[in-house]
Amino acid sequence: MEDAHQSADSPSFKPISVSLPSDVSYLDIARTFVADVGNKVGLLASEIHDLQLAVTEAVTNVIEHAYAGDSSQRIELAFEKAGECFTIVITDNSGNRFDPVNYPEPDMKEYLSQYRAGGLGLFLMRKLMDQVEFFSDSSGTNHLRLIKRVKS
């Protein structure tokens, strides 16, 4: 269904995906891949930066929280463009279902006054992206879908 939708809207870009180790040593190459695919679809440098930042936050969370620091697992990044929506889906097989409802946006004024470190990744993703959706299937596979409306 999604593929049919994608190819109908955007015959010029077909999905690409990459599979990476769940290891912070690969955050840099995750960003490189985001830039490569972004360049391939003609995104602006500022759009690419925002996608790199959101993906860095998402992948860091998967490594640290979903996989609890186990660097021997895998993370998949899947890239699609349908019309003006550029979508990145981050997938893990950790079995740790995450419900972001428990993590409402922090009140930054209060937050900053408490000098708390951390807890900003989710907030940043929501600021940067037009849509941030978590969904899981029964096999223990979790997906985070990041959607950004782009110019081109």
Binding site: V24, S25, L27, D28, R31, S46, H49, Q52, L53, T56, E57, T60, I63, E64, M108, K109, L112, Y115, R116, A117, G118, L120, G121, F123, L124, K127, L128
Partner: protein
């Protein structure tokens, strides 16, 4: 990509020159250096961000974790020469209300009391 870190002292101000990308991978040396300087009683910092092309929230978290101690000791942490996209990351999270930003290291140094006339090394 990695994060290169070098240090110089201007008067009693610690200038940390960073180059590269700041994320959960590259953060530990920066975190260690800041903690080491705090432990030695240094509370006046200028971070030269001119060659920093990327910062993730993990990086902001580390700065957040030291700013309390710094301010309690009448110090400050100034970020100099941040690139537009890096500044934007701070700004999106309202961190621009917590840290001072300047266009150059010299302007950052000048923000500290008793900085006038101090020469760089």
């Amino acid at each position: 990509m990695s994060l290169a870190l070098s240090q110089k002292t201007i008067g009693n101000i610690q200038v940390l020159v960073l180059a590269g990308e700041i994320d959960a991978q590259t953060l530990p040396p920066l975190e260690g250096k800041l903690q080491e300087l705090l432990d030695k009683g240094h509370y006046s910092f200028v971070l030269d961000f001119q060659q920093v092309s990327f910062i993730a929230s993990a990086g902001l978290g580390v700065l957040m974790s030291v700013i309390g101690t710094i301010q309690e000791n009448n110090g400050d942490l100034v970020i100099a020469s941040a690139q537009p996209e890096v500044y934007r990351t701070f700004d999106l999270l309202d961190f621009t209300t917590l840290f001072k930003f300047t266009d150059s290291v010299a302007a950052g140094v000048a923000l500290f009391p008793n900085a006038a006339g101090v020469q760089g090394d």
